[in-house]
């Protein structure tokens, strides 16, 4: 699309904490500028207007109900560009932890036996958006990185393809000048996790939890061994690697975004 056209932008949210939308709203310095370049036509958390005419759809949250699956297909039909916003939509995120259990067991243990017959509690296995529809670009992270969001938005306005890094968080971490988490006697998922977050968690004293999903073709076997060498039992290492149940992105991703 030519730059002269004002994009109509919509933000949709599926099953999530809506923190990534909140991060968009927390671009206090940039929002007024953004709004001079695009029309935001749908953003339920922040506006009453509900439009079905949009060019770019940002989707937050994973698909966990039949209704959400239908909504996603509708969005794909309408939008020229579909971008996932955050871990829940990009990889399934923490929501995927639920998939370890049977749905009926979940419903019963949480809402009681009477819930089994109720539609209100109907929920499916958690899926990432690209397991259902084609996605043009993923914004990874739990939450997304504000800088990456703004950069991708900017790229779109300029008619460029946004770019998702395909190297590990370790690279970002070195650039940030951090001491390696393993050197501090702790364990970390940085070596197999997709960068783009400036390694902010390690900078603030924590570890990489793997929220951005794995890089393409991660060497999980080798990293499991590394974790074991640093004191974890095999089950613990696998449990740690499964926190964001990653490695599942890119199923239907278009080649162009790489």
């Amino acid at each position: 699309m030519p730059y002269s056209k004002r994009y109509k932008v919509a933000f949709f949210s599926m099953t999530s904490c809506e923190g990534c939308q909140l991060l968009v709203l927390s671009c206090e310095n940039e929002l007024p500028d953004i709004l001079t370049h695009v029309n935001i036509v749908y953003f339920r958390e922040a506006m009453s207007e509900k439009s079905t005419d949009y060019d770019i759809a940002f989707i937050e949250g994973s698909a966990t109900t039949a209704k959400e699956v239908r909504k996603l297909r509708k969005i794909r039909k309408q939008a020229k560009i579909v971008i996932t916003l955050g871990a829940c939509s990009s990889t399934g995120g923490l929501n995927r932890l639920k998939n370890r259990f049977k749905i009926d067991d979940l419903k019963e243990s949480v809402y009681g036996k009477e819930a089994l017959g109720s539609q209100a509690f109907d929920t499916k296995r958690v899926r990432a958006v690209d397991e259902i529809i084609e996605v043009d670009h993923h914004l990874h992270g739990c939450p997304i990185s504000k800088e990456e969001f703004l950069k991708s938005f900017n790229d779109l306005l300029l008619g460029l393809k946004p770019h998702a890094p395909n190297y590990p968080v370790c690279t970002d971490c070195k650039i940030a000048g951090n001491v390696c988490v393993f050197k501090k006697g702790e364990t970390c998922l940085g070596p197999v996790t997709r960068a783009g977050c400036s390694a902010v968690c390690v900078t603030y004293g924590s570890i990489c939890w793997g929220c951005r999903g794995f890089v393409d073709a991660p060497n999980i076997a080798a990293h499991t061994e590394t974790l074991q060498r640093h004191g974890m039992k095999k089950e613990e290492a696998l449990s740690f690697l499964s926190l964001y149940s990653t490695g599942l992105t890119g199923k239907k991703e278009k080649k162009i975004v790489r």
Binding site: C17, E45, R100, E236
Partner: protein, 429 residues
């Protein structure tokens, strides 16, 4: 007067999460009023099952993007209680500071992004950027500073990084704190401007006596510590909260509802201001006086102005905490290690009210059982009761106006629906 009314607001906007309002009036009698919570359940308590204690804070913060620090704090308090971890005064100070930042951020988001458009009768904050640029500039600046508090302490505005069981992983530099201090000091004029604006906004004359529950602790405006106490003069022992606050499932909602021994009750900013009025900071007291707010608070629409009054308090408390931090010179402390295992209950005043996290941890440090009581769900019953009474005062109005008014009432409660769908008692086998 109209005798029949049927309203169905699908996907209520400008609230956090997905909910519908259903109102059915026949022959002047309210047949049905429901707040359907259609947010998909996420089963957070189940997600925690089998996870390590030091992952809980990271996982549970993700219940909600707006009040992540509250969930983190309640989660950490539950873990630390269960595992006999005593945190240092410095840790507590920093966590409280992050907590102030988050409560501020949440209140400001609600007041400016979600309520302000109602006042001007527009769809969102966007048209207001054109029509009232100064007001919106002030609003955005206030919100930016509140986010800064969270960022300096927690590492980012959404989902804090540095909070961990037993301590803090990051210590802010002195000059960062000094910068925060000057930025917060600069916000009082802006808050005052907002107060002058909000206090002139007429609210519906809708009073209904109510039970209000909030944390209480001697000598402070309790947000981080204390015991849940009712305006009906009884308190709830933290470990025995399930005996007093009864949760139940309604078939049309993925959030549970709750009642106290007295029936319907309300939590949140209005409950805190009402129950702890005399412990508000001097500037907040002054603001309350100017707004003409004093207990007993019976009109739920006052929750908005109560949030603004809390903004004065939270900013002042944040300044006090920063002053203490600057005097004591913060230093990196090692995390306190777990000493035991068992059950722990963490309780805080999240922006929307009293929040409980209750975990059982086994001797390997693995979480075997979890339950959370979340303020929005606690409030759902109260919202419905208010809607029933309120809609009867509106029956002679055009339908569109009624719809708008009832939406405004629900929004005044500042419901956070993503949060509320995780209210669940989970018993793990």
């Amino acid at each position: 007067m109209k005798k029949e009314l049927n309203i169905r607001v699908k996907e209520l906007t400008r609230v956090e999460g997905h909910g519908n309002i259903v109102i059915d009036v026949k022959k002047g009698v309210v047949k049905e009023v429901k707040l359907e919570i259609v947010e998909s359940p996420r089963f957070f308590e189940v997600m925690l099952r089998g996870r390590r204690y030091d992952e809980a804070q990271h996982i549970m913060a993700r219940i909600c993007g707006i009040c992540a620090t509250s969930h983190s704090s309640a989660s950490l308090k539950a873990i630390e209680m269960a595992m006999g971890i005593r945190i240092t005064p410095q840790t507590k100070l920093l966590r409280r500071l992050a907590f102030c930042g988050e409560n501020l951020q949440s209140h400001l988001l609600h007041l400016f992004f979600l309520v302000l458009p109602d006042i001007f009768g527009v769809d969102s904050i966007v048209p207001l950027m054109q029509s009232h640029p100064d007001l919106i500039k002030t609003a955005l600046e206030l919100k930016r500073v509140s986010n800064e508090i969270c960022t300096v302490i927690g590492g980012r505005a959404v989902h804090p990084i540095s909070l961990a069981p037993g301590g803090m992983l990051h210590i802010p530099a002195q000059d960062e704190l000094k910068r925060l201090k000057s930025e917060i000091t600069g916000t009082f004029d802006k808050l005052q401007g907002m107060l002058e604006f909000f206090k002139e906004v007429p609210i519906p004359d809708f009073k209904k006596p109510r039970e209000l529950i909030a944390l209480k602790k001697r000598g402070e405006y309790s947000i981080y510590d204390g015991i849940a106490t009712s305006s009906n003069k009884y308190s709830i022992k933290t470990e025995e909260y399930t005996k007093k606050i009864k949760e139940y499932v309604v078939p049309y909602s993925t959030a549970k509802q709750a009642v106290s021994p007295k029936g319907t009750f309300m939590v949140g900013a209005m409950a805190r201001v009402n129950n702890n009025f005399r412990s508000l900071s001097p500037r907040a007291q002054k603001a309350a006086k100017e707004a003409g707010l004093k207990p007993p608070l019976e009109n739920p629409f006052l929750n908005n102005i109560a949030q603004l009054i809390e903004c004065f308090h939270l900013s002042e408390e944040a300044l006090g905490l920063i002053d203490t931090a600057l005097k004591t010179e913060l230093k990196k402390e090692p995390l306190r290690k777990p000493k035991s295992w068992g059950r722990g209950v963490g309780i805080v005043e999240a922006p929307r009210g009293t929040l409980f996290h209750d975990y059982t941890i086994d001797k390997r440090g693995i979480i075997t059982d979890a339950n959370c009581v979340i303020p929005t769900a606690t409030n759902l019953h109260s919202i419905e009761e208010d809607l029933k009474a309120f809609v009867l005062t509106l029956l002679d109005r055009p339908k569109a106006e009624i719809q708008n008014r009832v939406e405004t009432l629900v929004r005044a409660y500042d419901p956070c629906i993503s949060c509320s769908t995780h209210i669940m008692d989970v018993t793990f086998i």
